[in-house]
């Protein structure tokens, strides 16, 4: 039973408690849990479905949510808490994958990534990979002076939360969230310049 799940049942609960109390390290480890789950699902899915079948990231995140929620039953305080973690994990999964893809393209060292082909099922093109990496970098820069805006973009774009959900989560108003959101993505779009326009609708 010890190996039943890579994360034993108590662990997620403990991390959640710590993370909701503002423990960044706990949050980071929680992201790691979801990250593992996402990649494992992607890996498993690829093995049963025909090659070339595109794995929607929607399905990926839902499945991770359902699995972890089922595993932990009531311990996710609410779905926003999960999606806050999941959006971070999703961002890392996709950006890591995009970076590996570009690194391989440029003839660099290819590290041992057993799940790489699984993520390929998400079917990122080179252009999308470039844009994702650029977006990730830009989001990090944005967070330096506009952390709320960066967070909103991540929750919506990588986590799929609506403006209403985000407003509830940040204890803000929908109107404020919309203002912050519009400004942030205008800034991001300018930062990305040439790399804009390949990412919408991916896998949805």
């Amino acid at each position: 039973m010890a190996d039943a799940h890579p994360h034993d049942d108590g662990e997620i609960t403990r991390l959640l408690h710590a993370a909701s109390g503002g423990d960044r390290e706990a949050f980071g480890r929680l992201v790691g849990v979801v990250y593992d789950e996402l990649t494992r699902i992607a890996h498993g899915r690829l093995r049963v479905e025909p090659v070339g079948h595109t794995l929607g990231t929607t399905g990926l995140v839902h499945e991770a949510y359902l699995r972890l929620a089922a595993q932990e039953r009531a311990n996710w305080q609410n779905r926003e808490q999960f999606f806050a973690v999941a959006s971070e994990a999703m961002r890392r999964v996709l950006v890591d994958h995009a970076r590996r893809r570009l690194r391989g393209k440029r003839g660099g060292h290819v590290e041992h990534v057993p799940l790489d082909d699984a993520i390929d099922a998400v079917a990122l093109t080179d252009a999308q990979s470039e844009e994702l990496v650029a977006l990730d970098d830009a989001l990090t820069r944005l967070a330096a002076f506009n952390p709320e805006g960066a967070r909103i973009v991540q929750l919506h774009f990588f986590g799929g939360l609506s403006q209403g959900d985000i407003a509830t989560m940040l204890d803000s108003s929908e109107r404020t969230v919309r203002r912050q959101w519009s400004a942030a993505r205008a800034w991001l779009r300018r930062e990305l310049r040439g790399n804009v326009g390949t990412l919408t609708g991916l896998g949805a």
Binding site: T58, H62, R67, A69, F157, G160
Partner: protein, 811 residues
């Protein structure tokens, strides 16, 4: 850029975006108040926004609509107190309701609404009766269920606070015998549900909680069936996800391959749970295994012996209060064998029931020899070839594959196992339907189930619709299934549906089976019986005679089959007034049944009932009453007071007593019977209609005697009701229709409507002649009564002509 400056940029941008495009430029300039750098920044960002307002607007992921927290809401009589948890299917709440001043707490599960929730609701309504009858101290009781005001299905279950089974055992460091004792209680609960036709489908440690006082409680019994196969969970993608979420760790091979779910499916899950309780490991799961790996292992990989998992595993042994070598020795042998028997891939080779599994564990605990035997490869090959003898090519390939198990690729053996599972699933399907029907009508619990003919009929109709597709090219299997369905329709009184299926099953078996195969005898008997029930007695008699002949030849092997055919033939003889012949065959049938199954068995009750009728019809009233008492006591012992057959037996006893002159007592009996029958089978069931007709006769007699127009009116109403039921359920040419018309004519005449009575009596005669071609005693009686009616109406010429035509002397 810093945070402060960004805040200004953001504020100006927001105002600009809200403004009309023509006002925008001026507004921005004014807002920036001469700060050129700020102005340039805002204009630049505004341009980005105007170029591409949808940028990043479509998330890479989308999430399902937010689920609500219903705390404080009322659902039916339930008040939601707080959220207990969320899962893939929806939310679970703590809820309370007030019953007679007391507060009852429960777990209320709201199923997330999806496209097919109507289907979930429909199934739930079908299942609810059955689920509500699961009363067992180790099963969390289903309390309520329905639809919330916003149209989401919900279930209310007994609230259980406890720890998952395996965790509890480990936390408490329970030893092997204690674990087995606890497991036995779980088996008993599962068996209780199985006897009531409820299969859990998702047994796992998380669904078996142990309360603080050490009582195991099984959750969610029967819910799996209601939810299974429906797309009830939000979007289509999520649906797929949800279905995949069903715990593969405890899924039986037939669940992985999409085969039939039977009670053996739960036996398998019990096997996995027992494996974990004993060995502390899952039979197949390994670190790093993906879901498809696990599913493939479930279907094709033989599990390691539980005892083989122990060496070196100090933690597991410690949690059982032992050292690894002692634990391994304890498990080796009987316990290994018991667990692996429950885990067999083919459902039919597992323990036949949870009770059988429990019994073997009890034998182990008592130090007696267990019934489980180790599996062998040779046995598996033989069984597999046996099942596939129709297809020489296929079985040859399979033999090769299985014999060469060590060298063939994993893929091949996996495919073979899937094929085996598929064939098995089909066979299980017929068995499942049969056992379902037997349970519905058979020895136990039938009174509540019979009223629920809707779900039985739905099951039959569904299976019938799939016959040609599901069993194309597999005639023997198809005949089995048709036989089961014909039997089911017959038991529901739907003889017109039953007959063609029985005919086809017989024809198929005669074509594909050896000429003296016992199944052909069974088919002859079933068709003969159904024809008898439809009133096609001329055709029925030779079929039943042939069934008796065949079964007599085979009676050393299967005496009970001969008894069944003799019984059915006796009933036919009774119906065709061949009473001495009926008495002879029924006496023989009763002797066989009493010798083989004992006096407390329903078979004895049924045959004794029929023999008593034969005595009664020959006016041997003492023998009739004595034999009927045997029938009644056998049936009450075997199936309970409320069972249909018990009520029929009571009804007969009432009739025999009535014949002895106790009309008032008989009338009271019939009224009680009518109340029971209507409740159990519905008022238009043929059996209920017979009770109505008997009551009508008694009421009519009393009405004539007391010159009571009210009683006569009641008698007419009852007769007409019985007539409508017989016409509807038996067809317009059934002998019971003739009998009822005959009685109705008498009542109508007694009420002073002579002409109408003549018309009815003519109809009675016409139907009677069609359904009794031998124009026996019954028809002669009708002719006499018709002639009497003519005379009463003053038309002696018509009466005379009629009497001459039938050669009936004037009464």
């Amino acid at each position: 850029m810093n945070a402060e400056r960004w805040a200004r940029v953001e504020a100006i941008l927001a105002e600009a975006m809200d403004a009309t495009p023509s006002d925008r430029q001026q507004l921005v300039r004014a807002a920036c108040g001469g700060d050129e750098a700020l102005h340039a920044e805002v204009v630049s960002l505004l341009a980005q926004w105007e170029t591409d307002p949808e940028y990043l607007a479509h998330p890479l992921v989308e999430v399902p609509a937010a689920t609500r927290d219903r705390t404080g809401e009322a659902i039916g009589p339930w008040e939601i107190t707080h959220l207990l948890g969320r899962g893939g299917m929806g939310e679970v709440y703590h809820a309370v309701r007030r019953v007679d001043g007391a507060v009852q707490a429960a777990a209320l599960k709201v199923i997330r609404r999806g496209r097919d929730s109507d289907e979930v609701i429909r199934r739930f309504r079908l299942e609810r009766r059955i689920l509500a009858q699961l009363h067992h101290p180790n099963i969390a009781q289903l309390l309520d269920g329905g639809v919330t005001p916003d149209q989401q299905p919900y279930f209310v279950m007994e609230l259980v606070e406890g720890t998952p089974l395996t965790t509890w055992c480990d936390d408490q460091r329970r030893g092997i015998r204690e674990r087995l004792a606890l497991f036995l209680r779980i088996c008993e609960a599962v068996e209780h549900a199985h006897q009531r036709l409820v299969v859990h489908r998702d047994l796992k440690p998380g669904n078996i909680l142990v309360t603080t006082d050490g009582t195991p409680k099984l959750l969610d019994f029967g819910i799996g069936k209601v939810l299974e196969g429906t797309e009830s969970f939000g979007t289509s993608i999520e649906t797929r996800t949800e279905l995949r979420l069903l715990t593969p760790e405890y899924a039986a091979p037939e669940q992985v391959t999409g085969g039939a779910i039977t009670t053996a499916t739960d036996v398998y899950a019990l096997g996995v749970i027992l494996y974990e309780l004993l060995a502390g490991e899952h039979p197949y799961r390994r670190p790093g295994m993906t879901r498809p790996d696990l599913e493939a292992a479930v279907v094709s990989e033989p599990p390691a012996l539980p005892s083989a998992r122990i060496p070196g595993n100090v933690a597991v042994a410690h949690a059982r209060g032992l050292d690894p070598s002692t634990l391994a020795r304890t498990l080796a042998g009987d316990l290994d064998t018991i667990v692996l028997m429950a885990l067999r891939k083919e459902a039919s080779r597992r323990y036949p029931s949870a009770a059988a599994l429990a019994e073997d564990i009890r034998r182990y605990l008592d130090g007696r020899p267990v019934s489980a035997r180790p599996d062998t490869i040779g046995y598996r090959v033989r069984k597999f070839v046996g099942r596939n003898r129709g297809s020489v090519v296929a079985s040859a390939a399979i033999v090769t594959a299985l014999v060469g198990v060590a060298v063939t690729s994993v893929v091949t053996s996996r495919r073979v196992a899937r094929e085996a599972a598929r064939v098995q699933a089909e066979r299980d399907k017929a068995l499942e339907v049969r056992s379902f029907l037997l349970e519905m009508f058979g020895a136990t619990g039938a009174d509540q189930a019979v009223g629920d003919t809707v779900s039985v009929r739905a099951l039959l109709d569904r299976q019938r619709a799939q016959l040609n597709v599901a069993y194309a090219g597999r005639d023997a299997l198809k005949a089995d299934m048709m036989e089961v369905l014909a039997d089911g329709y017959d038991r529901l009184g739907l003889y017109r549906e039953a007959e063609p299926l029985a005919r086809e099953a017989l024809a198929l078996r005669q074509r594909v089976l050896p000429p003296d195969h016992p199944d052909i005898g069974a088919s002859l008997n079933l068709l003969g019986w159904i024809l008898h029930e439809r009133g096609e007695r001329e055709e029925a008699e030779p079929l039943l005679l042939e069934a008796v002949r065949r079964r007599r030849a085979d009676s050393t092997r299967a005496p009970e089959a001969l008894a069944r055919s003799l019984n059915d033939l006796g009933v036919l003889y009774n119906a065709t007034q061949q009473y001495p012949a009926a008495t002879a065959v029924l006496r023989e049938a009763l002797a066989i049944r009493r010798a083989t199954v004992g006096d407390q068995h329903r078979a004895v009750g049924i045959t004794a009932n029929n023999l008593a009728a034969a005595f009664y019809l020959q006016r041997q009233l003492d023998s009739a009453v004595t034999t009927q008492r045997l029938a009644l006591s056998a049936l009450q012992a075997a199936v309970g007071r409320d069972h249909q057959r018990t009520t029929v037996a009571l009804s007969n006893l009432a009739a025999f007593r009535r014949a002895g002159g106790d009309a008032a007592g008989a009338e009271a009996d019939y009224r009680e019977l009518l109340e029971r029958q209507s409740r159990l089978q519905g008022r238009d069931h043929p059996v209920t209609a017979r009770v109505i007709l008997s009551l009508a006769s008694i009421v009519a007699e009393r009405g004539v005697r007391d010159s009571s127009s009210a009683l006569l009116a009641e008698a007419e109403g009852l007769s007409r009701e019985a007539l409508a039921a017989f016409e509807l359920r038996l067809g317009p040419d059934h002998p019971m229709v003739a009998t009822t018309l005959d009685r109705l004519a008498g009542v109508v005449s007694a009420r002073g409507r002579g002409r109408e009575a003549i018309t009815i009596q003519q109809r009675a005669l016409a139907v009677g002649r069609r359904s009794n071609p031998d124009t026996g005693q019954v028809v002669r009686g009708m002719v006499g009564r018709l002639a009497a009616l003519w005379r009463q109406a003053g038309d002696t010429a018509a009466a005379k002509a009629l009497s001459q035509q039938y050669g009936v002397p004037r009464p």
